[in-house]
C-alpha cells in the first residue's frame, strides 16, 4: 500500500468469532474511492454490524464509508430520498420522521448503514408485510474500478441491480442509494405481548397476524427444561391509531459497535443466568402485556433494551438464522427440538418471524418462517452447529449469511436458491473478483 491514506487495522465480526488485521482506508472524498490500487482485493464497510465477516478479510483493503453519510436529494411529493451509502439508519430516520415520513425496513441497530442494508438485503420487523430492504430501493449508484460509476435500477442495469442487492458488496462500492419512503402513521406503536406454549403455536399465530401487523416476531427462551421448550411470547405491534402520543421517540445515539461489544472479558451467560433471565423476561412480558413504544425504541430495540449482545463478552455469541419453507416448517421444528433435547447446546433464545422475499442474489428468497437461534459459546457448540447444518440441508432451509459467521460453503451453495446463478453472473461482471471478504472466500464466491 503506497497510498498514505491506508493503515493496518484489526476488525472483529459482530458476533466476536472472527478477528483479523487488514488494510484500512476511510475515504472522505470521491477521488479516494477512485484511487488506483490495481488488483488489490477490497471490500466496502459500513457500520460493521454484520454478525459475519462480510466487510473485511485477509489482505483485503477495507474501504470504510462512514464519511459518506450525506443527504443528496429529497423529493417531498414523491417521498423519495437519496443518501450516501454510509448514512446510518438512525440519522436518516431522525430526519425523515421530523417530516412525517418513515422507512419500513429497518434492522435493530441505528448505526447500521444504508449501504450495508443493501449489501445484505436486510429485513425489518415484519418482512412478510414489508419485504426486504431492496424492495424499497429505487436506484443505486455503484462504483467499480473497471466499470466506473454505474446507475443501477430495475430498469437500467437491472442485472447488476439484482446482483448488488444482497450481493454482500461483491459488485463494487455502493456510493449512494435512492429510497422510497412512506408516511409516518404516528410516533408510537402499540405492542401486545401474547404468550404461546410452543413453537408450533407461535408459527400459527405469526401466520394469522403477519398480514395486518406492522411489527411482529416471537421470542422463546432457550430453556434447558425441554418440557417447556418453545414457550414464549409473540410481540405484535401496530401503529397507534389516535395520532401522536406522549412517548419518547428520540433516537439514542450512543450504541455499541462490534469492537465495544467485546469490552466484557467474560460471558455473563451460563445455564443458571440463561434460565433466570428467560424466566424474568417472560414474567415482565406477562405483567406488562400491552405497551406503547416510541418509534425509535420499537425500531432499534438493541439500542434501548439491556445490552444484550455485550453480555456475551469477548468470546461472543453464535446466531443461526434460517428461512424454512412453509411446507417443511413442521418437520424442521420437530427435528430441531429433537436435536436440542439430545445434545443440550448452550441455547439462549429462539426467535421467529414470517418472511417473504424475492431476491436473486445471496439472500434468502421465498416465503416461510425465519427461525433464529442464539447461542453463547462453549466448546461443544461447533459440533452441535454441524448437526444444525445437516438439518438445514435435509429440510432445504436457507441460511442468512449475514448472521452466521461460520456457515460453510457446502450449506450455502446447496441451499440458497440463486447461489450458482449469482456466482456465474458475478464472475461475468467482474472476472478479477476484486471485491472480497472473509465471507465470500469461505463461501467460494
Amino acid at each position: 500500500m503506497s497510498e498514505n491514506l491506508v493503515k493496518k487495522s484489526t476488525f472483529v465480526s459482530f458476533d466476536g468469532a472472527i478477528k483479523m488485521s487488514s488494510y484500512h482506508q476511510r475515504p472522505d472524498r470521491y477521488r479516494h474511492l477512485e484511487i488506483n490500487y490495481g488488483k488489490q482485493l477490497r471490500i466496502a464497510r459500513g457500520g460493521g454490524y454484520s454478525f459475519s465477516a462480510a466487510s473485511f478479510g485477509e489482505n483485503v483493503l477495507v474501504q470504510e464509508l462512514t464519511n459518506f453519510d450525506r443527504f443528496l436529494d429529497f423529493d417531498e411529493t414523491l417521498k423519495v430520498i437519496k443518501v450516501e451509502a454510509g448514512m446510518p439508519l438512525g440519522k436518516m430516520l431522525d430526519w425523515i420522521m421530523e417530516r412525517g415520513l418513515y422507512f419500513p425496513v429497518l434492522p435493530g441497530y441505528p448505526n447500521i448503514t444504508v449501504g450495508g442494508c443493501v449489501a445484505v438485503d436486510a429485513h425489518g420487523k415484519n418482512p412478510w408485510k414489508d419485504g426486504t430492504f431492496s424492495e424499497w430501493v429505487i436506484e443505486i449508484n455503484l462504483f467499480h474500478p473497471f466499470h466506473g460509476y454505474m446507475s443501477l435500477s430495475r430498469e437500467e442495469h437491472s442485472d447488476e441491480f439484482e446482483l448488488t442487492c444482497g450481493g454482500f458488496g461483491t459488485t463494487g462500492i455502493i456510493v449512494d442509494v435512492t429510497l422510497q419512503l412512506v408516511d409516518l402513521p404516528s410516533n408510537a406503536l402499540e405492542v401486545r405481548k401474547i404468550p404461546v406454549r410452543s413453537l408450533d403455536e407461535a408459527m400459527r399465530k405469526l401466520s394469522e397476524n403477519a398480514d395486518d401487523s406492522d411489527y411482529i416476531y416471537s421470542w422463546h427462551g432457550g430453556s434447558q427444561n425441554l418440557k417447556n421448550f418453545g414457550a414464549g411470547v409473540i410481540f405484535i405491534g401496530k401503529w397507534l391509531q389516535d395520532g401522536n402520543t406522549n412517548v419518547d421517540s428520540r433516537l439514542r445515539r450512543k450504541v455499541m459497535t462490534a469492537q465495544s461489544r467485546t469490552n466484557l472479558p467474560i460471558s455473563f451467560w451460563n445455564r443458571f443466568t440463561v434460565g433466570f433471565a428467560n424466566r424474568l423476561f417472560t414474567e415482565l412480558c406477562t405483567v406488562n402485556s400491552r405497551e406503547i413504544m416510541g418509534v425509535c425504541r420499537a425500531t432499534f430495540p438493541f439500542a434501548y433494551g439491556a445490552p444484550y449482545h455485550s453480555l456475551f463478552g469477548r468470546r461472543g455469541f453464535s446466531e443461526i438464522q434460517v428461512l424454512i419453507d412453509l411446507s417443511t416448517a413442521d418437520i424442521f421444528i420437530q427435528k430441531l427440538c429433537h436435536l436440542l433435547e439430545k445434545h443440550n447446546p448452550p441455547l439462549l433464545m429462539v426467535s421467529m418471524k414470517a418472511f417473504r422475499g424475492e431476491q436473486r442474489s445471496l439472500s434468502m428468497a421465498g416465503e416461510g418462517y425465519l427461525v433464529a437461534l442464539n447461542f453463547y459459546r462453549n466448546d461443544k457448540l461447533p459440533e452441535f452447529l454441524e448437526l444444525v447444518d445437516q438439518l438445514i440441508l435435509e429440510t432445504n432451509a436457507q441460511p442468512n449469511l449475514s448472521k452466521d459467521s461460520r456457515c460453510p460453503y457446502g450449506v450455502a451453495s446447496r441451499t440458497l436458491p440463486h447461489y450458482s446463478h449469482f456466482q456465474t453472473r458475478l464472475h461475468q461482471f467482474d472476472p478479477y473478483r476484486l471485491y472480497r471478504s472473509e465471507l465470500t472466500e469461505r463461501l467460494g464466491i
Binding site: L5, K7, D28, Y30, R70, D73, F74
Partner: protein, 245 residues
C-alpha cells in the same frame, strides 16, 4: 453568510455543518466540486440554509477570486466572515521533494489564503462585524526534517495572521483568529498510529462557532498541545536534533 475555504472534508466539512446547523447561509470553496456539492446538498436538505459551492484550487498561481468576492458583495452586510480550514500535505515533503511542488504547497497553505484575505478586507463593509479565521498546524512549532515545506508555509501563515491582527488592532468589528491544530481525526492523520489522542473535528467546529467573535491571537486545539509546544520550543538544539518525529 460565511465563506469556508476547504469545506469538502475533515475540519472544513465539520465547520460547515456546525455553521449551517446554526442557520447561517454558506459559500463553500474547495478544489473538488463533487465533494463540495455533496456537502452543500446535505446542509441545504438538513438545515434549510442556502449553500453555494465553488471549485477553486488554491495551488494555482494568481487565482481569480472574483466569484468569491461577488458572493461577498451579494451578501452585503450579511457577510459575517471567512474561515480557512484549507491545507494540503504531500508525500516526501523533505529534502527529496520535487522542486516544482514547493510552490504549490506554499500557495495552498499560505499564499492564496493571504491573497484572498487582502481582497476580502478591501471590499468588506467597514461597519459590519467580520471574522477571519485561519487554521495552522503543530508542524510549525519547530522546524524538522519531515513536512518541511508544509510546516514552513503554515509558519508563514501564522505570522501573517499575527501581522493581520496587528494591522486591524484598532478595528473593533474585525476578529482575527488563528487555531493551531494538533492531530485531528481526519484523513490527514488517519493512517498514522499516533500515541496522543486525536481531536474531534466536530468539537473543534463547535468551539470555532462559539468563539467566532472572541478576541485572541492564536489557540491550540486540542488544548494539551500548548504544553507539548512549550516543551518542544524549550528543548536545546543539541537534544532537539536527535529527536525522530
Amino acid at each position: 453568510m460565511y465563506v469556508i475555504v476547504g469545506a469538502s472534508s475533515g475540519v472544513g466539512r465539520a465547520i460547515a455543518e456546525e455553521f449551517a446547523s446554526r442557520g447561517h447561509d454558506l459559500f463553500l470553496v474547495s478544489r473538488e466540486l463533487r465533494d463540495t456539492n455533496a456537502v452543500a446538498c446535505d446542509l441545504t436538505i438538513r438545515f434549510g440554509v442556502k449553500v453555494k459551492s465553488l471549485e477553486l484550487d488554491l495551488a494555482i498561481p494568481y487565482l481569480d477570486f472574483s466569484k468569491v468576492l461577488q458572493a461577498v458583495e451579494d451578501a452585503g452586510k450579511c457577510f459575517r466572515g471567512i474561515l480557512f480550514p484549507a491545507g494540503s500535505v504531500i508525500e516526501d515533503d523533505s529534502l527529496s521533494i520535487e522542486v516544482s511542488r514547493i510552490d504549490s504547497v506554499f500557495r495552498v497553505n499560505c499564499v492564496s489564503i493571504c491573497a484572498l484575505i487582502t481582497e476580502i478586507l478591501r471590499r468588506a463593509h467597514h461597519d459590519c462585524k467580520l471574522s477571519i479565521v485561519g487554521f495552522g498546524s503543530i508542524a510549525s512549532i519547530r522546524g524538522r526534517g519531515a513536512n518541511m515545506t508544509y510546516s514552513a508555509a503554515k509558519t508563514a501563515l501564522q505570522f501573517y495572521f499575527e501581522s493581520l491582527k496587528h494591522a486591524c488592532a484598532g478595528r473593533d468589528n474585525i476578529f482575527i483568529q488563528y487555531y493551531v491544530l494538533g492531530y485531528m481525526d481526519t484523513n490527514l492523520a488517519f493512517a498514522y498510529n499516533v500515541s496522543l489522542p486525536k481531536g474531534s473535528p466536530r468539537k473543534l467546529a463547535k468551539q470555532v462557532y462559539c468563539d467566532i467573535q472572541e478576541d485572541f491571537v492564536s489557540r491550540f486545539y486540542p488544548r494539551y498541545w500548548v504544553i507539548i509546544a512549550v516543551i518542544i520550543k524549550l528543548l536545546p538544539w543539541s537534544l532537539y536534533k536527535l529527536m525522530k518525529f
